[in-house]
Amino acid sequence: MEYIIHLAILVGIYLILAQSFNLTIGLGRMFNLAHVASYALGAYVTALASTELEMGFGRCLISSALVSGLFAILLGGIALRLAGDYFAIGTLAFASIVSALLINWKSVTKGVLGIPGIPRPEIGGVALYDNLQFGYVVGVLVIVSLTVLYFVFSSPFGRVLRGQAEDQLAMMALGRDVRLINTLGFFIASAFAGVAGALFAYYINYIDPSSFSFSEMVFLVTIVVVGSPGSFWGCVVATFFLVLLPEPLRFVDLPSSILGPMRQLLHSIVLLSVVWFNRAKLFPAQREV
């Protein structure tokens, strides 16, 4: 039972994280490689705020979302001026700077040792040390976040975001400020990644830079690609599928040094095969004029 609750919480966190990533890479077709950096920022903000400043659950969550969102505005301010490959490079550089800071800014982040002893949140005076209770809280937040994201996806704003991906010039011609819309999309996506990070920090109690590595980024790309970029429900199904996929490996008697790489290998093979079979439809090129 405890194991099922654990999986449910994990799936919940990834639902928020992957769906918000889907907003930029899927809907807006912006190859943003800094989403995990937003997630990491959210996790570290909560970790620090709850241990050093002893801030409460709500305030931690909001600070995480805000810090990650502000990071996205900074990121967008630079990266959104760039097109194509340059965009991917710019966001990757941002992500790398964040991970370098996490490792090296030891006075704040404690470097590779990470931040231990993150307390579980208290709601109404009850600390949620029981995973089931914490799971309910995660569940509520997942439902709220996905509902908000669903409305973003189907709103006029979402349609403009999708439209600029297909034909940026046409959207500009329609009088839309594409930069502003993209930045806003970035902000929303990143803020939700911050929320996911906060939940992750609370749940695991201990965070270190290795949880936010490059392979985590590839995992998110896998989820979105498997679920078909830009598809809301596809992304939800893919999150369940991919988070649970390597779990049977747990029951095979393998040392943990093999288990981690095995999981990565599994994910990247799934990624490759899905891209292979859908190559004609994934990420159709911008229309040439």
Binding site: E166, P284, R287, E288
Partner: protein
Amino acid sequence: MLEVSDLHLKIGDALILNGVSFSAQAGDSIGIIGPNGSGKTTLFNCLSGFVLPFQGSVSLRGENITHTPPYLRAELGVGRVFQSFGIFREMTVLENLVVALESRAGVLRTFFPWSTTSRMIRAQAKEFAAQVKLDGKLSQRAGMLSGGQMRLLEIVRALAFGAEVFLLDEPTAGVSPKMKDEVAALISHVQTLGKTTLIIEHDINFVQSFSKRVLVLDQGRVILDDSPENVRKNDLLREIYFGK
């Protein structure tokens, strides 16, 4: 020589070519006109192999080349002069010609600059440069040339390469009025060598001076295929350019 039948092509969801058919005999010179967005350049891209049609076929000397990759079509003799200058700006004038001649000679025989073939090719390249009065600028970067000179270089490069079918996409675009005559003279020279030329051009007078036959494209179809005089007289032309 060149047989195009029923080409249909989509870019994204937009139907750009909607059943283009025509044929060209060896030595023909055909002008192609039509309003912006009528699919002229896309037709050329389709003939060069840069985009593939989802229906219809292209054949060259009876050989079906509809799905042949661009570099193999070039080997079969399809040459291309790009609207936005297809010369290599970072390379010298000489290198631009050498790279075309080498492409026919093969990479191994021309690998070392001191091989006999390489020397022969450099001599040939100089002759071609002299044809367009660029022999004084052999070691200049091609990007430093004027628009007209770049166009001359590109056409003479296709000639040096040994193209049989010339696809000329607006050869006078970006060329000063003074140089236009020289470009025109070079195209005439290409035609007297018996090459097949297809020319996209806005200026119908310019087309008339080269072509015995004009295709008018509109919305991805050939709507007229006639002599320049008859095309000029036809009311359809007025309609597509100026509305009804």
